[in-house]
Every structure is written in C-alpha cells, then in structure tokens.
C-alpha cells in the first residue's frame, strides 16, 4: 500500500436536476480507494447507480447530473478539472470498456483505426505507426489473424471479438486505471471466460488498476480482490471479495448471495429478497433497504445508518452491524 491510492473517491454525491428546480439524489456518500494494480468489483442490481459511478469517474456524466465531493486520481480532483484537462486524462490515464460492444464501436471506421486513434491524439504518433501498434494490440487481445482484422469493420465480428477490440482500445495507452462496466454481460459463458482471462492477463502485465462493474457475483469472485456492494446509490458493504461473499455483514449482501440460483433439494425454494429495488423517488425513510430487509428493527426507520469501518479492512452500512461491532 502506497501513501496515496491511485483513485480515491470521497463523499461523492451525484444528483439529477429535475424540472421545477428540484434535484433527485442518485449517488449518496460514495467513498472508496483503489490502489495501483489492485482490483475492485462494484456489484449491484439495476438502478443501484453503479454505472453512474463509473461514468462520474470518467467525467462523462450527462448534463443534468451534478457531482459533489472528490474523485482524486493520483491526488488530482477530477471534479474540479476542466473539460480540456479531462480530455487529456480520458483514454490516457483512465481507460473504459463498455457493456455493449455493438454500440460502443464506431460502425464506419475500421477497428485498426479505432484502436490507433487514441495513440494519434494522445501520443502524437503518425497514423502509420499507430496502425502498426494497433495490430500488436489486437494480437495481445488474442484476435486471430490480427493484421487482416485491423482493416475490417465492427459488423464483421462476433460479440466476443468486438469486446476484445473494446479492450484493445482501452489498453492502447496503457492507462493506470481501467474501468470496465459489465464488460462480459452480453457474451456467452465460454467467451466470457476468455475475455475475462485476457483482461486479467493484461491488467497484470501493465500493472493497471481495474474497477469492474458487474451484476454478476461470480464474475466479481473470479476477477476482483476487493468488492463494493451498492444499493439505491449507497455503498452497503465493502471488503475483500472472499470475506464479503463468505461472511456478508449487510442483510442486502446476504440476500443477494442467497438469491444466486443454485441446486436446491426437492420441493425447496430459492431465498428471495421481498419486494423490488425501489426507484430513487420512492426510497423508504431511514435505511434505504429497510422496506425489504428481513432483519429490520424500529431504529432502521429512524435515520439512515452511517458507514462503519472495521479494523479488518471491511466496511458496512447497517445499524445492526454497528451494534454487533460495539459488543
């Protein structure tokens, strides 16, 4: 552990401007650190704000969103940075891989040029050299017949191949931080396994920090040393992946793990979390999970529990976990 982590998010709140001057908070009190070369998995269901978190680090929030707090990359607060400065950071220092390899690529540009583009803009390479580098990168993401493939267009490829191109683009500038938002969700399991292995190999080789956003606990278990569980724009629990998945402290994390489909004995049923993920305008008072929580007590409705960090590198947001900590 170095003194300053590569990425340090503190008190990050993001809200959306609504008509009539009101604002709807989406992300509330987000905070985490990510060291150089480390891996962090962010897990949550749809509507938990995990993609918005990824976008806010990239500085790609939509115009109606407003962020406060700090997102410090190697000490520099990205929320204060000018658009010009962000442009030079994006791609160069932070790379991003998107979920939909179909829509994330430019259909009218060869994949070689899409990979080379960043090298030309950020590194000042000549197109000729950048294109040669692009072929190397395609080789590294194990694209068969890379030289010929560099001259083809995205529509000529399968989903897994497109996602490899997405990885090659993100890796071209060897960013210190790689953000992958559901990078393998659209892929078949065997292709997913290959893409995850490529991502893992290259992140290790380049010493990149990886922030992996996923709804799939299995993918997080495979790829990430630490994990962060999100619900309704809040962090509910974090810690080392193995610790969190084998000994969850927040009832939401427990519910998620229990709901993972698995073999059950005859006549048995899967554990479920009652109700559904509430919209951001329908959050219950007090703890945001209180209306679905199986362990709810009166105090949960009184006020939102704070974040409790413990000495073993874990943190949790739950009144009852706080009590256990005191005992």
């Amino acid at each position: 552990m170095t003194d300053t982590p590569l990425l340090s998010v503190r008190d990050l709140s993001v809200s959306i401007r609504l008509g009539g001057g009101s604002r709807m908070p989406i992300l509330t009190d987000m905070a985490f650190d990510l060291d150089a070369g480390d891996t962090l998995g962010v897990v949550g269901e749809s509507g938990s704000g995990k993609s918005l978190l990824a976008l806010s680090i990239m500085g790609l929030l939509p115009g109606v969103a407003e962020a406060s707090g700090t997102i410090a990359l190697a000490g520099e607060n990205l929320l204060d940075a000018s658009e010009e400065r962000l442009c030079s950071i994006r791609g160069d220092r932070i790379g991003m891989i998107f979920q939909e390899p179909m829509t994330a690529l430019n259909p009218a540009m060869t994949i070689g040029d899409q990979i080379a583009e960043g090298l030309v803009w950020h590194r000042g390479l000549f197109w000729r050299d950048a294109r040669a580098k692009a072929v190397d990168l395609l080789d590294q993401v194990k694209m068969p017949d890379a030289r010929r493939r560099a001259g083809t267009y995205p529509h000529e490829m399968s989903g897994g191949q497109r996602q490899r191109v997405g990885i090659a683009i993100a890796l071209a500038l060897k960013p210190a931080l790689l953000i992958a938002d559901e990078p393998t969700t659209a892929l078949d399991v065997t292709v997913q396994a290959e893409v995850l292995d490529i991502l893992d190999d290259l992140a290790r080789e380049y010493g990149m920090a990886l922030l992996l956003v996923s709804h799939d606990l299995g993918v997080i278990a495979r790829m990430c040393r630490r994990m962060l569980v999100m619900y309704a724009g809040r962090r509910m629990e974090d810690g080392e992946t193995r610790d969190v998945l084998t000994g969850p402290r927040n009832p939401y994390t427990r519910g998620l793990i229990a709901a993972v489909p698995k073999r059950i004995s005859d006549g048995g049923r899967l554990a479920t979390i009652r109700g559904r993920v509430p919209g951001f305008d329908q959050l219950p008072p007090g703890c945001v999970f209180s209306n679905r929580c199986p362990d709810v007590i009166d105090a949960c409705h009184a006020g939102e529990p704070g974040w409790t960090s413990s000495a073993d590198g874990r943190g949790v947001r739950c009144i009852r976990a706080e009590e256990e900590e005191k005992q």
């Binding site: 194990k142 292709v191 290959e194 998620l256 709901a259 489909p261 554990a271 479920t272 993920v277």
Partner: protein, 331 residues
C-alpha cells in the same frame, strides 16, 4: 417411464436459407435432428450458447415455425400434420413466455387485456364477466393484484412484467409452457422470485415447462432433466443434477467450468478453461472436436450420435465412457 410423454420431439431439423444478391443461396442448419421427450409435470431445461439452436427449438415446439424435417408430437398429435384450424384449437394447451419483458407486452393495452388475449382462441370463448374473473385469479396466482388489470405495462418493473407474461401464458390453463430465457433479463433478487413462482406453478397446477436458457445455474436450480445443445445438435441429456455433477460430454464440462461461481475465487486453473473456438469446418465428424480436449482421430472421421451411456443419460460423444470414468469434480 411407460407413460407417453407430453411432448415428443422426433429428429427435428430446421434449415435457414439466406439469399445473397449474387451466388447460390446458403443453407444453415440451425437445428439438426434433435430428439427429446418431456414428461407431464416435468421441468426440462435446454442450455447452450447463442446460435446453438435453442430458440429455434422453442419456436418449433410452439409450432410458430415449420421444420425442414422431423415431428413435434404434443399430447399424441403431430402438430405439423394438423389442419390449421385444429392447430389453432390446440394452442390453448401450449403457451410461451419470451425473454424480453419490455418487448413482449403491448404498451398500449391494459394488463387485463394483455392477460386475457389467449382466451380469444378458445373454442368456447368465455363471457366478459368470466374473463374478468379469470384474469383476476391469474394475476393473483403469479403474485400480482387483481386491480393491476387496469394498469398499463409501463407502470411495472421488469420482474412484474415477466409475471404478467407468465399470467398470460397460463390463462388458458395450458399443459406445456415454453419459457425462452424467461429470467435472463431480471435482476438477481427478482430472478429468484420468478424461479420460485415457476416451481410453485408446476407444483400447484401441474404445468410442464420447457425451460430454455444459457444459464447453467438456473437450469441446475429448477430443471428435473436437462438437454445440452451445441451447434444445432443435442449433445447430452439426463437428470440435471447428474449432468452437471458428472458431464458425459466434454462440451458440458467446458460450459460448467466457464460458468462463474461465487464459490470459486480468483482465476480457475488453466486446464479448466476452454480452448478458443475454431472456425466452423463443414466436414463430417464431431462439431465440437476443434475445441475438445479429448478429441481423437475418430472424432474427425465419424459424427457421434446421441446414445445411452448410463440409465437415463445420453451423450453424443465417442469418448463418453472415458468422461464417465473420470472422478466427480469437487464442486
């Protein structure tokens, strides 16, 4: 098992023809002589990756498409030799739930009308009051409320919409429901609720399910028997637990090993991961041989047919006996 199966699929094949502007039309065999049976009251899972023909199988089992060859025998009737009017009459006995709960419900109709729609094909169309009552009953039995009939689909979440789609499929009291990736688009906590609902419906109403998915864990959870498909062919069938515990086809093992699990931390051993898929060579032999860790010369020369390896278990692999002799994996 001496009773006749509810659904008997026999040597079903489907070719898709793509016409190019120049040159001869190109035939793609999406489904290649698939045979399987589903008993009444059973949940039969079909797993495979995209392009393996599992959705084509679903469409044919529902008689939404005609096969190039083969038969679908539902409850004793060959669906494709029935006159159209007769086939339409039979449709009340088999219904379908689609993957996308956003695309499969008409946004302009109220939920009550959406759910009631299949009733209009019944030979004896129920009266208005009866329809209303049946819709209300059905909504309640899938965990919604009777008054939801007055709302529009956009007012519901993904999980609730999938319940509406299930209610619509069940309103004619079908014997068979084909669910094509019915829970794939749902969040984890909601997915578990819908899976439990399907198990409840099987128990309470005796509905038979042909459950199609790419997710092995989901099949392992709800299916009694499973069929694994690869490139249009059924490569393995058997009781779900046995198939995943001791696969008899190397592809099943590759699939099971690639599936992320919350009990496996970090990267699996390199031996577990699959070799990359090679371009499809249209020459005899086993379609999986280029990715197969156990491939031998015979796999190139001779296409393995689905055969019984152990009681209740079939596999289309020349080396299934060697697979059976392997020790059961730890997980």
């Amino acid at each position: 098992m001496n009773t006749t199966p509810l659904l008997d699929i026999r040597a079903l094949s489907r070719d898709y023809v793509s016409h190019s502007l120049f040159g001869a039309p190109h035939h793609t065999r999406a489904l290649d002589e698939v045979s399987l049976t589903v008993d009444a009251g059973e949940i039969f899972g079909v797993v495979g990756e995209s392009g393996c023909g599992k959705s084509t199988l679903a469409r044919l089992a529902m008689a939404l498409d005609s096969p190039t060859a083969g038969h679908v025998i539902f409850d004793g009737d060959d669906l494709f030799s029935l006159p159209p009017r007769e086939l339409m009459r039979r449709r009340e006995n088999f219904q379908m739930v689609f993957q996308d709960p956003f695309g499969s419900l008409d946004p302009r109709q109220k939920v009550g009308r959406i759910v009631a729609e299949p009733l209009h094909v019944l030979a004896r169309k129920p009266g208005r009051a009866e329809i209303k009552e049946r819709v209300a009953d059905m909504l309640e039995s899938v965990g919604l409320k009777a008054e939801h009939a007055e709302r529009h689909p956009h007012e519901f979440s993904g999980g609730q919409r999938q319940r509406i789609a299930i209610a619509r499929a069940l309103i004619t009291e079908p014997k068979l429901v084909v669910a094509d990736e019915a829970v794939s688009a749902l969040d984890l906590s909601v997915q578990a609720q819908v899976l439990n609902l399907l198990m409840d419906l099987r128990e309470r109403r005796g509905v038979t399910f042909l459950f199609i998915t790419h997710n092995l864990a989901v099949v392992d959870c709800i299916a009694d028997r499973v069929g694994v498909m690869y490139r249009g062919r059924l490569v393995e069938t058997g009781p779900a637990h046995a198939v995943f515990e001791q696969p008899l086809h190397p592809y099943t093992k590759v699939l099971a090993d690639a599936e992320p699990s919350i009990e496996r931390f970090g990267r699996p051993q390199p031996s577990e991961s699959a070799p990359p898929p090679a371009p499809f060579a249209e020459t005899g032999g086993c379609a999986f041989r280029d990715r197969c860790p156990l491939a031998i010369a015979r796999c190139v020369a001779e296409r393995p047919e689905l055969r019984t390896i152990a009681p209740g278990r079939q596999a289309a692999c020349h080396r299934a006996e060697d697979m059976a002799a392997r020790p059961v994996s730890a997980d």
